[in-house]
């Protein structure tokens, strides 16, 4: 015990440490060893919030342990209500181990993300657990094409960071339906040797689907050594189909419906090479040429009706609230 006592422990001001029981001792050991005062601070407060587009938001959240342990490709699960909330997986877009924070980028699509978008700096997430999933396998492959579609650019960000740091030549293709939905362009440009921007409607960059420039790059000599594609399932499916004839290994990162994120429920399962794989413990990254995207897309729609109903109920509830506020304001 003596050695631990001397190990640079920070005194807890105004409190008798012995009266605190195990809580203090635990905090101490993490403090002593990680040189970070808030290491065991398990309140996941929102430190910063940014709206990247109409429906895309970025949150920087206090999560020192996750920030310290996370690697490219991993994700977290969060819930905004510890009693009745649902657990949703989100990729870690960035992390700052010194500050002890992680950055989450999410699109407002369902009930939980709608409520999450309404949270503000200083609010705390009820549940945040991670980092989950296997990290991306990083090495110097040579030339890597990174294709990010829509919000898929967010999970791509740390992967590009790691691939770049490993010495790869990075060609990045980012695509969105229109300019308004384009996120992290500057960040990706800064890390890429070549950046191609395209929009479906031509409102910005090249008017094309991401598969067009991808095909052109596959036809270059020498062809790229690896393609990483992250985005909507349909985009990943067609990226995999684009690279298949060129036999360029294509990695995709899947985001399926999860409950626990530790392999326990199997709700995230997807067929890869004819076998059922769990995205949470076997993934989230898989060989895109082996993934049954059609099956996965069907499973993703499994709760669509309930989700739509929940969103409709929530919006109706909000409209009622707004109406009540307006009425109250009118009376005044």
């Amino acid at each position: 015990m003596a050695s631990r006592e001397e190990n640079g422990r920070l005194p807890v001001a105004g409190r008798d440490p012995t009266a605190m029981g195990t809580r203090v001792h635990l905090a101490r050991s993490f403090v002593a060893n990680r040189k970070n005062r808030n290491m065991m601070e398990r309140t996941h407060t929102i430190l910063a919030k940014r709206q990247l587009s109409e429906n895309v938001f970025s949150l920087r959240v206090n999560a020192p342990l996750i920030a310290a342990e996370r690697e490219a490709g991993q994700f977290i699960l969060l819930s905004i209500d510890g009693e009745f909330g649902e657990r949703i997986p989100l990729t870690i877009a960035d992390a700052d181990p010194d500050e002890g924070s992680i950055t989450l980028i999410f699109q407002r699509v369902g009930m939980t993300t709608m409520k999450l978008a309404e949270m503000n700096v200083g609010d705390a997430l009820a549940v945040l657990v991670g980092p989950l999933g296997l990290p991306t396998h990083i090495e110097n492959f040579g030339t890597v094409v990174c294709v990010g579609g829509g919000i898929g650019v967010a999970p791509m960000h740390p992967i590009v960071q790691a691939l770049k740091a490993a010495g790869n030549k990075i060609i990045t293709i980012i695509g969105a339906r229109n300019q308004e939905l384009m996120v992290l362009e500057d960040e990706m440009r800064a890390m890429s040797d070549e950046l191609i921007v395209c929009t479906d409607d031509g409102s910005y960059g090249r008017k094309a689907l991401v598969t067009e420039p991808l095909k052109e790059i596959c036809e270059r000599d020498p062809k790229p050594n690896l393609v990483v594609a992250i985005g909507p399932p349909i985009m990943m499916k067609f990226c995999a189909e684009t690279t298949r004839p060129y036999e360029v290994h294509t990695m995709v990162s899947l985001n399926t419906i999860m409950v626990d994120g530790t392999g326990m429920c199997g709700g995230c399962r997807v067929t890869v090479g004819g076998k059922a794989k769990f995205v949470c413990v076997d993934g989230p990254e898989f060989d895109g040429h082996l993934v049954d995207f059609d099956g996965m897309m069907k499973r993703l729609r499994g709760y669509q009706a309930q989700e739509r109903q929940a969103v409709a109920d929530y919006e109706a509830h909000r409209c009622n609230l707004d109406a009540a506020y307006r009425e109250a304001a009118d009376k005044e």
């Binding site: 195990t22 510890g82 009820a126 549940v127 199997g266």
Partner: protein, 497 residues
């Protein structure tokens, strides 16, 4: 079927008790064998299938007193041999017969820390009650002394009176022990190690504590309040409980010892990796592992529609594959969530079902339709990937296999199809790969379970393991038994230093 109410059962018991009068302790064995075995009071099936309250409401005091009189006080005490944690059964049953419920609870707690839970979920008919002389004399194991119900009675009696005492904790030793997982094995280790004065931290991956007792076993069989009470007791003992912490991911197992100063660890992460049948159609929308279905309903509270954000399938016709407790839990949960028909498909016969007899009876009473000697061959779906029906095969029983159960053999050409919209696969679990993935030093068996000796010591010094991560899928009481042995070994190890 007539369903006697709790009041009726109680009145009968009181009348029988009055006949015995004060002579209870002097009863001859023949007279004890003549006492009618006491049925468990339960909510009426047609009522309970529409609520999530506990089905079995527990013995009344008169029933407990009378049932305890059925015990023959055998010198050899065969029942103890049937108990994985060797509870002094004769002593606690005798104490109940004498009306000393506190003494009964105290006796149980010398061996078992979670009597309110084990009294509810232990498969007593294959353990203590299988060995009971009363059952053997009456040539019906179901007529054995209802040891589990008596255990539950006194545990509930203590909890309801609010007299559960917080176990004494010895002075601080300065040693720290980490417990990975807050299921039955982990909770028991935490209590036993903390009592010796060591600091204990329990790390739980979920946002609530209790492991399978919370996410798996439904409220109607094990009220969550009981599990919460056990966790509160641990907290009152000074055990640090940390939720949302996945050891291996949030922090590496070895880092806890090498960097964070834990002197020993116990891994009780359970058997959480659901098995599927590997048949056509299992990827369809509407096919769930029992783990997923039950977790959505229990832990995520999906049965409280309108309140819970976690959705669950709105099922009309459900097929459940399997014959264990988890299959019964899934089937009965589906009924409570509003399914019109629930079909349980099992390829052997009812005799071979691993579920507790009481759960099988309750499931039938509630209207679960049993299809024995049948097995699903494939699951069929529509163009949206939604389940529309299953195709089954009929089976017959052949020679006994390695497990001693008669091997089911398929009857060629017996395929038939029936309409369902939901399939729940409840055929067991493999061991969870997460700890193994992130801690390569831990040796595992071919089945992925951790290698551990009799004390629970793994291939890594100071790292112990127990429960389903060592046993494969087993029971709460076996996990608890392993936890106790590992805790004793941890305490011994730390005391010697």
């Amino acid at each position: 079927m007539s369903h006697p109410t709790r009041d009726e059962l109680n009145a009968r018991a009181e009348a029988n008790l009055a006949e015995i009068g004060d002579g209870g302790s002097a009863l001859k064995p023949k007279a004890r064998l003549a006492i009618p075995s006491q049925d468990m009071p339960a909510q009426a099936p047609e009522i309970r299938r529409a609520n999530t309250s506990e089905v079995a409401t527990g013995y009344t005091e008169a029933q407990a007193l009378l049932e305890a009189q059925r015990c023959l006080r055998c010198k050899k005490q065969p029942c103890i041999k049937g108990c994985p944690v060797a509870i002094d059964i004769r002593d606690f049953v005798t104490a109940i017969a004498q009306g000393d419920f506190q003494a009964a609870v105290n006796t149980i707690k010398l061996s078992s820390l979670l009597p309110a839970i084990c009294g509810r979920v232990c498969p007593q008919e294959t353990q203590c009650q299988a060995e009971c002389t009363v059952g053997k004399s009456l040539k019906d194991p179901l007529k054995s002394v209802a040891i589990g119900r008596l255990e539950r009675f006194v545990a509930d009696w203590e909890r309801e009176r609010g007299t559960i005492s917080v176990p004494e904790v010895k002075p601080p030793t300065g040693k720290k022990v980490g417990v990975v997982g807050s299921g039955p094995a982990g909770l028991v280790v935490a209590a036993d190690v903390r009592r010796e004065g060591h600091e204990v931290t329990v790390f739980e991956a979920f946002h609530k504590f209790g492991g399978v007792m919370l996410y798996g076993i439904p409220e109607f069989r094990l009220p969550k309040e009981i599990v919460r009470k056990e966790v509160e007791t641990l907290e009152a003992m000074g055990v640090e409980m940390i939720p949302n912490f996945v050891v291996g991911r949030t922090r590496k197992l070895m880092d806890l010892m090498e960097k964070d100063g834990y002197d020993a660890l116990f891994v009780g992460t359970g058997a959480g990796l659901p098995k599927f049948m590997n048949i056509e159609g299992e990827e369809l929308v509407g096919v769930f592992s029992a783990n997923e279905y039950l977790t959505r309903a229990n832990l995520m509270r999906a049965y409280e529609k309108g309140k819970a954000a976690t959705p669950i399938a709105n099922s009309r016709k459900v097929a459940v594959f399997g014959g264990g407790n988890v299959a019964m839990d899934s089937a009965r949960t589906a009924l409570r969530l509003g399914a019109e028909e629930v079909h349980l498909i099992y390829r052997r016969t009812e005799k071979e079902m691993p579920a507790r007899v009481e759960e099988v009876e309750h499931a039938k009473e509630e209207g679960v339709q049993f299809h024995i000697l049948q097995n699903a061959k494939r699951i069929l779906g529509d163009e949206h990937g939604l389940v529309t029906s299953i195709e089954c095969l009929r089976y017959e029983l052949g020679e006994p296999d390695a497990s001693g159960r008669r091997r089911p053999l398929e009857i060629k050409g017996s395929e038939f199809e029936f309409e369902v919209d939901t399939v729940i696969v409840a055929i067991g679990n493999s061991s969870n790969p997460l700890i193994k993935q992130t801690t390569p030093a831990l040796e595992t068996t071919d089945w992925g379970t951790l290698v551990a000796d009799d004390d629970g010591l793994t291939s890594v010094p100071r790292v112990f393991a127990g429960g389903d991560i060592v046993l494969g899928a087993a029971t709460v009481i076996l996990a608890m038994g392993q936890g106790r042995r590992a805790a004793a070994a941890i305490n011994k190890l730390l005391a010697e230093e």
